[in-house]
């Protein structure tokens, strides 16, 4: 079970768009094997970088409005938001070093 907080269509604005620090949203679904694979890796990255980057999860089946709004067509999709804007997109499950490289600017 992931330790990341769940965000929803209803809470997206408050939790993500109004976040005062960079926040990454992991768009996922129950049926997505690669999502399950990457989830513990994201937990680890969040734990190791707690003061720099928050990581939250959004279930695309339960929250179709947000998934549609950001044009999600492949999951896991990991979007970093800063001041309400998407500033980084990472798609697909990747090993921890590869994800850390993708997210380097937010973890430094």
């Amino acid at each position: 079970m992931s330790s990341a907080k769940d965000v929803t269509d209803a809470s997206f604005e408050a939790d993500v768009l109004n976040s005062d620090k960079p926040i990454m949203v992991d768009f996922w679904a129950e049926w997505c094997g690669p999502c399950r694979a990457v989830s513990p890796i994201l937990d680890k990255i969040a734990e190791e970088n707690a003061e720099k980057l928050s990581i939250v999860k959004l279930n695309v089946d339960d929250n179709p409005v947000t998934a549609e709004k950001y044009g999600i067509t492949s999951i896991p999709a990991m979007y970093v938001f800063k001041n309400g804007e998407v500033v980084k997109r990472v798609i697909g499950a990747k090993p921890k070093p590869a994800l850390e490289a993708d997210l380097a600017e937010f973890l430094a």
Binding site: A37, A67, T73, S74, P95
Partner: protein, 319 residues
């Protein structure tokens, strides 16, 4: 040092682990950090694996194989191999976290990876309409038009699965006949949502932020057409995943790892290969599992002939 390290966690890797663990060889399985369980993790219902008359979900089958290996003492590591030193008596396996495992034998069962079309925009639009996995991404194409590229069983499986969501599924194939099995062809031809586009290759993928269409070119007369689709699923086969062993293990003409006859023995003593990485022909879960069995038994026989002092070193140092 280990007696045996197994690289890969598909049906070949886990079956090898079950046999090696039951032989008290305490195998370590390097399962990969994100692709553990192999190809079946991306499938839905598996209907042709013996012993499951009602079918079983691919990921469930892999979790059961893993549990069976662990029951007999196999250890699983969720990391990736970044470098291998396979020559010599003691093999070195370098992992993504910087650690190094040593082993007397290695079973290499890394499977295969999807082939790409090789188009300029394919990687850029990957995840934005270009996909290799209908079961992963199909649900995002409700009431959309999509194209599946390919003509084998996996292409037809993807096309049939996508009809659950998409309004129209074009099957784009370079020839005028399919390689897929008769059962799969019958199912696809009977499906009103699947439209066949014969003798067509993909020349372009269009779209700035996401796929808006693809450009087709006739393989017969070169005529170019544009197909209005929001998704393109590539299913043109897979290549054996051998980049870690280039220059160390001999390969066949078709790029699989060369093994001695019906055995799993590679050109290096103590190194065995199993599963899709040695199989250019059958590529089934059950043939991979059988191949994993062969590799575990070959490794067991090899270990039995090693000098006692070398074996003692492997047994004496636990992980």
């Amino acid at each position: 040092m280990r007696q045996i390290v197994i690289i890969g966690s598909g049906p070949a890797g886990y079956t090898a682990a079950i046999y090696a663990a039951r032989a008290n060889l305490k195998p370590l399985v390097i399962a990969s950090s994100v692709e553990f369980g192999g190809e079946l993790m991306k499938t839905t219902e598996v209907e042709n694996f013996p012993g499951f008359p009602d079918g079983i979900m691919g990921p469930d089958l892999m979790i059961k194989m893993q549990a069976q290996a662990e029951r007999f003492g196999a250890e699983i590591v969720y990391d990736d191999v970044v470098k291998l030193e396979l020559a010599g008596e003691v093999k070195k396996i370098h992992l993504g976290d910087g650690s190094v495992e040593e082993a007397l034998t290695v079973i290499y069962a890394t499977g295969s990876e999807y082939r790409k079309l090789g188009l300029e925009d394919e990687t850029r639009l990957s995840g934005y309409g270009v996909s290799w996995c209908a079961t992963c991404d199909g649900a995002f194409f409700k009431q959309k038009k999509v194209a599946v590229i390919g003509g084998g069983d996996s292409a037809l499986e993807e096309a049939t699965f996508l009809t659950r969501f998409a309004d129209v599924v074009y099957l784009v194939h370079r020839r005028d006949a399919l390689r897929a099995s008769a059962a799969m062809q019958d199912r696809a031809f009977a499906d009103p949502k699947i439209e066949m586009l014969w003798n067509q290759g993909v020349a372009h993928i269009y779209g700035d932020e996401k796929v808006t269409g693809i450009g087709l070119v006739s393989t017969v007369d070169g005529t170019e057409t544009t197909l209005d689709v929001q998704g393109m699923f590539v299913a043109i086969g897979a290549d054996p995943r051998t980049h870690l062993v280039h220059g160390q293990l001999d390969l066949t003409d078709v790029g699989t790892i060369a093994v001695d006859g019906r055995s799993s023995r590679t050109n290096l003593a103590g190194v065995f290969a199993a599963g899709d990485v040695v199989d250019p022909t059958y590529k089934q879960a059950i043939t991979a599992a059988g191949s994993g069995t062969v590799a575990a038994l070959d490794a067991e026989h090899y270990l039995a002939d090693l000098p006692a002092e070398l074996l003692a070193r492997a047994v004496a140092v636990p992980a």
